[in-house]
């Protein structure tokens, strides 16, 4: 299977978008080479503005540009977009409900060698609490590009989460359709529901395939839009399987797992088991090794499913 980091998809999608939208402006905070907005900068230097290492100001500038009606993407690492600039995103973008797209890259533990200071496992939790903020976490190249193109036409603040690590491309660009707020049923099964997001969707699919060989049929759901979340797909699956596992490259507090628990406990109480970063900081190391160590891999999903089902 081909692989590509969703940050790369993001940079390429911005170039494609610029061909359609001559009001597109892209901002970065001295990380264009890493966030891949550098691809856009090279193609459209007049519409790219580096804000320097000043994320708070960048988010405010993005807000100001949005008040004039232009389409603006602001990019930096998830740690600084959602973390450092949280209150600016909340008050200057969220509160006035401005049409700013935040392209946050290097989310999660798969940042790798840079270590815990840069491994943001809290961004979904933070962004999800801002009223009116849409939160998107694409799983692969196809989904990431589709998300950028779709959200460009959607009016309102949006947080888009991209990764550093090359991710398997499992979606078919010919048939894939991105609908904001709609989960995608990737596999049907009646024994257990596996709900995954971002980088973990491919792992969930791999786990489901192996589980099927063991006679366990898993429902696999890709939740690319964490907010607003697709309640129906979650409730309907839980009704069929009675057992839900969530998988995310994010803290188990406040992210996909929490969102799924909120939906189910209010609508159809079901046992939910969360796989994610277990309320700890990460550390340096190669991304694939870290993902294994923190249980963000198909093996841990399989073991968790077996344990939950008592098999």
């Amino acid at each position: 299977m081909d692989k590509k980091a969703t940050r790369e998809s993001y940079g390429e999608a911005l170039v494609a978008l610029a061909e359609k939208r001559n009001d597109l402006v892209v901002l970065d905070a001295d990380l264009a080479a890493a966030t891949k907005t550098g691809i856009f900068k090279k193609a459209y230097p007049d519409r790219f503005f580096d804000c320097g290492i000043a994320e708070a100001n960048m988010m405010g500038v993005a807000a100001g540009i949005a008040t004039t009606g232009k389409l603006v993407f602001a990019s930096t690492f998830a740690m600084f977009a959602a973390g450092r600039a949280y209150e600016i995103v909340r008050n200057s973008i969220g509160y006035p409900h401005l049409n700013v797209k935040i392209g946050a890259t290097h989310a999660g533990i798969s940042v790798g060698e840079d270590g815990a200071s840069h491994q943001c496992n809290e961004d979904i939790a933070l962004m999800r609490t801002i009223p009116g903020m849409t939160v998107i976490n694409p799983a692969d190249d196809v989904e990431a590009k589709a998300a950028v193109m779709t959200m460009a036409d959607y009016e309102g603040p949006t947080y888009l989460r991209f990764g550093r690590l090359a991710a398997p491309i499992f979606n078919d660009p010919a048939t894939y359709k991105f609908e904001v707020g709609k989960g995608i049923q990737l596999r049907k099964g009646d024994d257990v529901t596996i709900i995954a997001t971002g980088l973990m969707v491919a792992q969930a699919l791999a786990a489901a395939s192996e589980l099927s060989d063991m006679g366990i049929n898993a429902d696999v759901i890709n939740i690319h839009t964490i907010k607003p979340i697709d309640k129906d797909i979650i409730i309907n699956s839980a009704k069929r399987t009675g057992n839900v596992i969530t998988v995310e490259e994010h803290s188990i507090i406040g992210g996909l797992g929490s969102a799924v628990c909120e939906v189910l406990s209010e609508n159809y109480p079901t046992k939910v088991t969360r796989i994610g970063v277990m309320d700890v900081f990460g550390h340096s190391g190669p991304a694939p090794k870290l993902l294994e160590e923190f249980g963000l891999c198909s093996e841990n999903i399989i073991n968790t499913v077996k344990k939950v089902l008592g098999k």
Partner: protein, 279 residues
């Protein structure tokens, strides 16, 4: 400045101050001190300088103003109301539960408010974005931002100061309302931002220092801003917190306190007397 125009502006500023007192008194909370210190400059901008139309608050080519020191919303609301964006009578609903006049400005609710503010240090960044956007599409509107002198203790202000100079945003002009007081005391005692003028000069700005209660000086400062090619302008205005109400002047206790009935009556009487003298 023409003497007639000046007198008219002074009259309007007195009405604006009455509106501030009316709002804060009826709200039983709010920030009169910094509202009164910026009242003259805001009056000048909305009545003599800015290209705006109260009948078309969203006019694309309008000049923009961001009240970065958002807690002085009573001043902005009073200016907007007196300029005809909404009824002056509505000022009495300031901070009330069913009012659109929120404690701090909100762009979606109140006609004439270009940006939601209140969390200090953020408005100047939004103003930079508006100015950059204007440059990008060759729109010739100007962007103004009003900052408090305590507000510039926020680091984001200096991120924005660097940005505005770097991108040569000469369509941007900020006013630093240097009334010398912040909640915890004198700014020089709490966390001195002095020398303010030298700091902005070092950041590459055109800097003008004026008396913020002198309409001639105010006008000259904004003229200077329009002439300063390739540089944003910072007008550092010396002002008096609580200006126009004798017992509020230069008193830190009036930063965020509403007058009681007796104080309200006295403030109103003083401002009405000033208004009468000017007619």
């Amino acid at each position: 400045m023409d003497a007639m125009i000046k007198r008219q502006l002074e009259r309007t500023a007195a009405k604006v101050r009455l509106g501030i007192i009316e709002g804060v008194y009826n709200a039983k909370s709010g920030h009169p001190g910094g509202s009164l210190s910026i009242a003259d400059t805001l009056t000048y901008l909305y009545f003599a300088r800015m290209n705006i139309d109260p009948k078309d608050p969203q006019m694309p080519e309008r000049d923009r103003l961001v009240l970065s020191k958002g807690h002085t919303a009573p001043a902005l609301y009073s200016v907007l109301a007196n300029r005809g964006f909404f009824p002056v009578e509505e000022l009495k609903t300031l901070r009330h539960i069913d009012s659109r006049l929120q404690g701090h400005p909100v762009r979606n609710k109140i006609p004439g408010v270009d940006m939601s503010t209140g969390s200090l240090g953020q408005g100047i960044s939004a103003a930079c974005g508006m100015a950059l956007s204007g440059k990008l599409s060759n729109d010739y509107y100007r962007v103004y931002a009003i900052l408090g002198d305590g507000e510039i203790e926020e680091g984001q202000v200096w991120e924005a100061a660097m940005f505005a100079a770097h991108y040569q945003l000469d369509n941007l002009c900020i006013v630093v309302d240097n009334n010398g007081l912040q909640i915890d005391g004198k700014i020089k005692d709490v966390m001195s931002p002095y020398p303010i003028d030298e700091k902005f000069k070092a950041f590459g700005w055109n800097v003008v220092c004026i008396d913020g209660h002198d309409f001639d000086a105010i006008e000259k400062a904004f003229d200077s801003a329009e002439r300063a090619l390739n540089h944003p302008t910072a007008i550092i205005q010396k002002s008096i917190k609580g200006k126009g109400v004798s017992f509020m002047e230069d008193q830190v206790s009036w930063h965020g306190t509403a007058p009681n009935e007796e104080q309200y009556n006295q403030a109103k009487a003083e401002l009405e007397e000033q208004l009468a003298k000017l007619s």
